[in-house]
């Protein structure tokens, strides 16, 4: 460093000049205010909290399944649909007899249709005794308004991660995300190959049957669709049985260098996990769609069965106020809160997204290991996801308001 007789003084001046310099810069700057908050539009197109839609048309798929075409409800403020990746879902919010609930439904249409034609489609199967679907069958007519979340979930093809050849294993209404993927492949928006195996009990329960076969015939080098029926009637000409290891092997051939995407009811996951075990696939090659709530939690081996018919008390503290509510051991804490007429936040209802994250002040819960999406620190500090947690004692909890 230069030694200067008055170095100290110069250095001090340099330091002291910072303030006048600062003042000059501030004085010279414009006094203009900013306009629209930045990034709002981009975020709105990618990750809106809410989208207001209305039913444009309804198509009967099977005797128990309907496809609803949803378009933006301009009046309520949704101008354009959020972009999504084939395989993602919308969390539908509905007010059913004073109980505000959510249900995740995969988008069955493709991204191009949202982008260019301005619609999403969701395909819903009526569940016997289903709380929401009974309401939907009753109320969802053309013109009915529907409130949904932005596109959510991670059940999509990702070129940096997945094998380019994907084997889709679907059951029940778990076929819906694959319809989106197949259409996306046909539109050349998705560069992958798909072999879809759809397991069904009855032939007339197959959703999109002919439609997907037609799609596949247009891009035979990229898509093939196979329906496997376990209780075929006399007219069934296709393969029969379950999605066993042998069955998969028969349609897929070499299983190496392929990704397996599973989407269906929870019981199917357990079945397929065992079947796939024999292939010794790396974990990264098997991906599962979040399957929603487990309806028969008492059948899982580590669930405390002696409690399954018990009802506990939950002291809930929410912005709406504090109250004590009943909660069945075999139903999730989220369901108990909703039944009480409160409006907790929720999206995936599978333990995965963490949107319902709440504080467990005291008490014990049961969480199926495969639905435990909690962060490590949350476990340590007593936070939990009510959507995948079952009460096994009285609880005291604190739930954030819904957004």
């Amino acid at each position: 460093m230069n030694t200067r007789a008055n170095g100290n003084t110069n250095d001090l001046l340099a330091l002291k000049d910072l303030m006048p310099q600062r003042q000059r810069r501030i004085a010279k700057a414009p006094a203009t205010a900013l306009g629209t908050p930045p990034m709002k539009e981009l975020t709105g197109r990618l990750h809106p909290h809410r989208q207001y839609l209305k039913i444009d048309s309804i198509k009967n798929e099977t005797k128990t399944t309907k496809t609803f075409r949803l378009v933006p409800d301009m009046v309520k403020g949704t101008k354009r649909l959020a972009v999504f990746r084939a395989g993602q879902y919308l969390s539908v919010k509905a007010d059913v007899n004073g109980v505000r609930i959510t249900r995740p439904y995969s988008i069955s249409s493709c991204p191009k249709e949202a982008r260019d034609d301005g619609f999403y489609e969701i395909t819903i199967r009526k569940i016997p005794g289903g709380f929401l679907t009974a309401y939907v069958w009753e109320n969802w007519k053309e013109g009915h308004t529907v409130e949904v979340s932005g596109p959510e979930g991670f059940f999509y093809y990702e070129a940096l991660r997945d094998a380019r050849h994907v084997v889709g294993l679907a059951g029940g209404s778990g076929i819906t995300p694959f319809r989106s993927m197949i259409k996306d492949i046909m539109e050349n928006d998705l560069d992958m190959q798909l072999t879809l195996l759809y397991g069904t009990r009855f032939a007339d329960d197959i959703i999109f049957g002919q439609e997907l076969e037609n799609f596949a015939s247009r891009v035979p080098e990229k898509v093939s669709v196979h329906y496997i029926c376990s209780e075929p009637d006399a007219t069934w000409k296709g393969p029969t049985g379950f999605l066993t290891k042998e069955c998969i092997q028969e349609f897929v051939g070499d299983v190496r260098d392929k990704s397996f995407f599973i989407s269906g009811p929870p019981a199917m996951y357990l079945f397929l996990e065992k079947e796939l075990e024999g292939f010794n696939l790396p974990k990264k090659r098997i991906r599962r769609e979040a399957c929603g709530e487990v309806k028969d939690i008492e059948t899982y081996t580590d669930f405390p069965k002696e409690l399954s018919h018990k009802t506990f008390k939950i002291a809930v503290n929410m912005a709406e106020g504090a109250q004590e509510i009943p909660a069945k051991a075999a139903e999730t804490v989220l369901v108990a809160i909703e039944r009480a007429g409160l409006t907790p936040p929720s999206k995936c209802r599978s333990g995965e997204c963490g949107f319902c994250r709440s504080r467990l002040v005291s008490g014990e819960i049961y969480v199926r290991p495969q639905d435990d999406g909690r962060r490590l620190a949350d476990r340590q500090f007593g936070y939990f996801h009510p959507c995948s947690s079952y009460p096994v004692s009285d609880l005291s909890i604190e739930v954030p308001r819904d957004l």
Binding site: A33, L42, E158, K283, R357
Partner: protein, 508 residues
């Protein structure tokens, strides 16, 4: 209308630290957070069997249990928050591909000096002089902070002569005088990405103090990601009688006659208070929060418009199905740059594609069991000028993100002569847009205002009272006076709480 002694807007590092300090000081405090988690940038997320750290690379100034640094003292002794800190094994490995430079650097002033001398023989005396200035910058900033920005010429001249040699100058001005060998300077610049201001404008004192703090205390990370840090502070706020509300965005800071009187949430609830600590940046506060607009003095707009917004981050999070050993990753932190011409690197931050720099973290090197046996958590981070990602159309966003991520991965693989592509079990890609979505930070900026010489910590300390434009409103977070980064926002949040406590005394 509910009434609180103080309301904290935003539960980022700054807001949580401020909120916890107020709660510990028996102030009736309410912390309002728009997201459903505490922490802001300090958070984590789960994909499959991995839990990813969202932003923390390493925390300076924690120190060991025996020789506590400022952050450990603040959390453990000041706030009573329990965080299990794990030391980071070494400073960094620097790989500059254009020049074939590849060095691994240790923590510790002497060890650092030795390592540079070994890599660049003959550099010892000039590097020692540089590190001496870094030390004085640390001490000097501490002194100015304690004296509340009062510059006492006699004291500075006699007690802090070396601080004076760097306090008023840019990084370029100071380093050019030291006669540092070119390669030594490149190694010393390795932490540059943590500030990302061109050396001609960057205050030497800030960079020097940061480097020196890393060297004397090493670096640490919470065992359960930064989310552990956030939840630990949130817990203390509640334990001490404070309240924390999630999914509750503040839309208005209510001001009457130049003084804050309350806040209004997005749900329309009004909360009465005379003290607000704002974790949102002054730019956001003056432009969108203060209500009515007539309460924003002209000079407040001028102030925020005069400043340069810092960069935003781009991160590729990788959960890999191979162990660090299999991948050949033995270090924790990797600085991988094409070259070390910092002005040119800074200029490159306006380009969406072909990133010239990245800082990578292999968390397993500090926390071997942070992911299941036989797997690795790796993150690759770059930075961008604000606006670069905003220009990407929503329809192209995923494709562009993937293409850029691929370039980061390719560069990492080349530098480390390894293959991560075939082992990707989980991947997420975050852009400034992502950070905006979760934190509301202005344009997704990670770094607040650039710490330029005239807008570095020193002038911000000196100008603090003069630039308080609305009575009762103090700022915390990356855009507040101590600048960005975990160390600064935690310390700055506490400092804002202490100012607020003094403001409260003034009320009486």
């Amino acid at each position: 209308m509910p009434e609180y002694d103080a309301v904290v807007i935003g539960a980022g590092n700054g807001g949580l630290s401020a909120g916890a300090q107020l709660a510990v000081s028996s102030v009736k405090v309410l912390v309002l957070e728009q997201h459903n988690l505490p922490g802001g940038f300090a958070t984590s997320f789960v994909r499959g069997r991995f839990e990813f750290e969202a932003t923390l690379h390493e925390l300076a100034n924690v120190g060991s249990k025996e020789n506590k640094g400022g952050i450990r003292r603040l959390l453990e002794d000041g706030l009573g928050a329990k965080v299990d800190f794990v030391p980071v094994p070494e400073a960094f490995r620097l790989i500059i591909s254009d020049e074939g430079l590849d060095v691994s650097m240790p923590f510790g002033v002497d060890a650092y000096l030795d390592a540079i001398e070994e890599a660049v023989p003959g550099s010892r005396s000039s590097v020692a002089e540089y590190l001496e200035l870094c030390k004085e910058a640390t001490v000097g900033i501490g002194h100015l902070f304690k004296s509340k920005g009062h510059i006492d010429e006699t004291v500075l001249k006699s007690e802090y002569p070396k601080f004076l040699k760097c306090a008023g100058y840019s990084y370029e001005e100071v380093t050019s005088r030291l006669g540092l060998p070119d390669r030594a300077r490149k190694i010393l610049d390795a932490y540059w990405l943590y500030l990302a201001v061109p050396p001609s404008r960057m205050a030497f004192s800030v960079y020097g103090a940061m480097l020196y703090t890393f060297l004397i205390h090493g670096a640490h990370v919470p065992r359960f990601r930064s989310h552990e840090l956030s939840v630990a502070m949130e817990k203390r706020i509640r334990e001490c009688g404070g309240a924390v509300e999630f999914n509750t965005r503040v839309d208005k800071i209510l001001v009457e006659n130049g003084r804050v009187v309350g806040v209004e949430t997005a749900q329309g609830d009004r909360i009465s208070t005379n003290h607000v600590i704002c974790n949102a940046s002054p730019t956001l506060a003056y432009n969108y929060l203060v209500h009515p607009k007539t309460e924003v003095p002209e000079v407040a707009y001028k102030n925020v418009n005069a400043r340069t917004e810092g960069v935003g981050s781009f991160v590729v999070y990788l959960g890999l199905d191979a162990s660090p050993e299999e991948l050949g990753l033995s270090e924790y932190s990797y600085v991988i740059h094409d070259h070390m011409d910092l002005e040119r690197l800074y200029a490159s931050l306006t380009n969406l594609f072909n990133p010239q720099l990245q800082a990578c973290i292999c968390l397993n090197a500090a926390i071997p069991d942070c992911s299941p046996p036989g797997t690795t958590l790796l993150s690759l981070t770059g930075v961008y000028q604000l606006g670069v990602w905003e220009a990407v159309k929503p329809e192209n966003y995923v494709t562009v993100k993937r293409k850029v991520a691929e370039q980061f991965i390719d560069k990492f693989e080349k530098a480390m002569k390894t293959n991560v592509r075939d082992h990707i079990e989980e991947i997420e890609i975050a852009t400034p847009q992502t950070f905006f979505r979760y934190t509301g930070a202005y344009k997704g900026s990670t770094y607040g205002y650039e710490l330029e010489t005239w807008d570095s910590i020193i002038p911000r300390i000196v100008a603090m009272e003069e630039e308080q434009y609305i009575k009762g409103v103090r700022f915390a977070g990356g855009s507040a006076f101590l600048g960005p980064g975990y160390n600064s926002t935690l310390s700055g949040g506490r400092a804002a709480a202490i100012q607020t406590l003094k403001d409260m005394e003034g009320d009486k």
